[in-house]
Amino acid sequence: MAVEILKEKYRSKVGEVVLGATKEDGGTRSHTITVGGESALPYLHFEGEIPNRPVVALEVWDIVPEWNPCFEQYYGDVYNDPGAWAKKCVEEYGADLIQVRLKGADPDLKDHSPEDCAATVKKVLEAVSVPVMVIGCGKADKDNTIYNPIAEAAAGENLVMGVGELENYKAVTSACMANNHVVIAQSPIDINICKQLNILIAEMSPAMSTRIIIDPTVAALGYGIEYSYSIMERARNGALQGDKMLAMPMYGNAGFESWRQKEANISADEQPGWGEQEERGILWEATTAMAYLQSGIDILVMRHPEALKAIKGNIDDLMKNNSY
């Protein structure tokens, strides 16, 4: 019996955004990465195009992070050197790109100067040839002082920079505008704010409307993931139905969020009912990432090399054609 396959007809698709720049375009990357472009819901190849596979970044910090001791064996030898750290992520662990988190800029931590931050980014750019993303320390007043020096120092590289928020998007957007970088627009698990922020950025510069990456805020498994999941499903449906201000590729810090949680970190001695810690942590992170792949994420930022490996395997599987 031939079953009549139900294919959705969508009016529109997600916009494509190019990350990084090669020599021809004024950068120094060995290749660029294109994300977005989907004209179907996640991995439903039977009804549309998924032209670009989602990409997976690993995170590099500019200070020694206070991460779970299980990370020591992977990054312990490079914690003090963002360049070497980035190189290890790409060459040994297979990261598609690098996200530099300039945590050390935090005035309550190392209070790194804008120049120090720019120098860290330059160091990473020299150490690896993949596209690079850069985010601040999370304190808006300080972050607003570092965007410009970084954007200028890396002019031509087509960085991804963030984060812009509804209350504070102008500094990072203008730094990106002036130096042709891509901006991360972050909204707090709220589709209306997500859309509003994209509109505001596009109003600052129409050219920026094709240089936005949406960060819908990805909560960790067990801590609100279902809210983020549904917001992303709705945003992606909106994009496919023709809402241009939701039609940007999506991004999320799955590693950062997952490893903040007790379930990833607590030892088996303290919580024997939950089993061995490291594998549990890896799967807490990878399961979080899996859910976001199913709700339409385009760029995942991971932390544990094993979680990255498992999720890249899943992406390989999901990218196989399933046309009827």
């Binding site: 039977f46 067990g222 809210y227 379930e263 899996m290 859910a291 199913q294 899943n314 599987d317 990218m319």
Partner: protein, 446 residues
Amino acid sequence: MGLTGLEIYKHLPKTNCKDCGSPTCLAFAMALASGKASLDACPHVTDEAKEALDSASAPPIKLVTVGTGDHKVELGEETEIFRHDKRFFHPTGIAVLISDSEDVAAKAEQFDDLEFERVGMHYITDMVAIKCDSGDAGKFKEAVETVAGKTEKALILMTEDPAIMEGALEAVADRKPLVCAATSDNFEKMTELAKGKDCPLVVKGSDINDLAELVEKVVGLGHKELVIDSGARETSQVLADLTQFRRLAVRKKFRLFGYPALAVTTKDDPKEEIIQAGVYVSKYADVVVLKACEKQQLLPLLSWRQNLYTDPQKPIAVEAGLYDVGEPGEDAPVYVTTNFSLTYFIVEGEVESSRIPSRVLSVDTGGISVLTAYADNKFSAETITEAIKKCGLEDKVKHKKLVLPGHVAVLKGTLEEESGWEVMVGPREASGITKYAKDNFAGGVS
């Protein structure tokens, strides 16, 4: 589902005979539409009309029950493609696989222990699947009996050989196991076995078209307690097939796919397998059979299932009241927060990791978070004072100090006046609690 009174009325005799107890056929139709009457009350309705009404009012995906008593697992009866449109109803059954070629007793014992406590909720793997790899009917039956003796969980019996199935099914038929599976080669015999024992049956095709054909044949043999499996095992194809089942059943009322769906993982690496199973839990599988059986592997998967199947319309609340973290004494600190479960459990987790025994006072805000509740006047000097009195906090601690979330520091003055307690302003985010506790309460509350 969702027929209007008028649509139902068309199928009724329209004689207004009152035999059903309603004054008119139309009134009866209205009562039927709102679920207040049963069609059985009308003695004159024709069989054709009955069938038309039954099938039109049936849910798009049938509810199928596996197992019995407290351990039964209900599958299906889903009505949505996206959880944000309403909600998903019956959480995917997670079945851990045992082969009859391994140490069945040891494994079955381990499986019964696969339950978790997390954020005040209890998670379990609901099912055990026993697969015949030995090709030996005696051995399979013995394995099934062993598992049945070790666990009360719902069972799935996996063999495509009816001769092997028969003995095992006979042994545990009263547990109402899921018989897995009928294929185009064995469906007559398998259907007879399952139907004879009144047990649900998996119908497994070689692809989605073959499956539809096979379901039609099995239904034709008179069995309707079915679970469907397209036979696909590659992640991407399974995702597509499960999506088609759900869409065709819900949108097109395609009856042949109006049954719960089963998916089986293939990955040998447990991490990859959990991720593969996660895809199927996310996208429409009603049962997933997998091999991974360690706690650290199943906890993330079961947590995802729990999260996905929550009702998006409903804030998840914990019961308001006073909670102990560790074994707090009279000088233990007291933290005040709301009864929105995410907020509460994050606070509780942070307080716990401070390793200073404490109490957390969860104020009834109707399950909404600190700032929202504050804006709504549900987290106010009055409601917090009431909560303090209600839980008898005064008798439990000898100090009179409370830690208030930093976000609502403005409440400090009025709360102190209203309650007579001294208010300490805590960190704005729960993530700051551990440090705050160590800085302030290392030697108890002074």
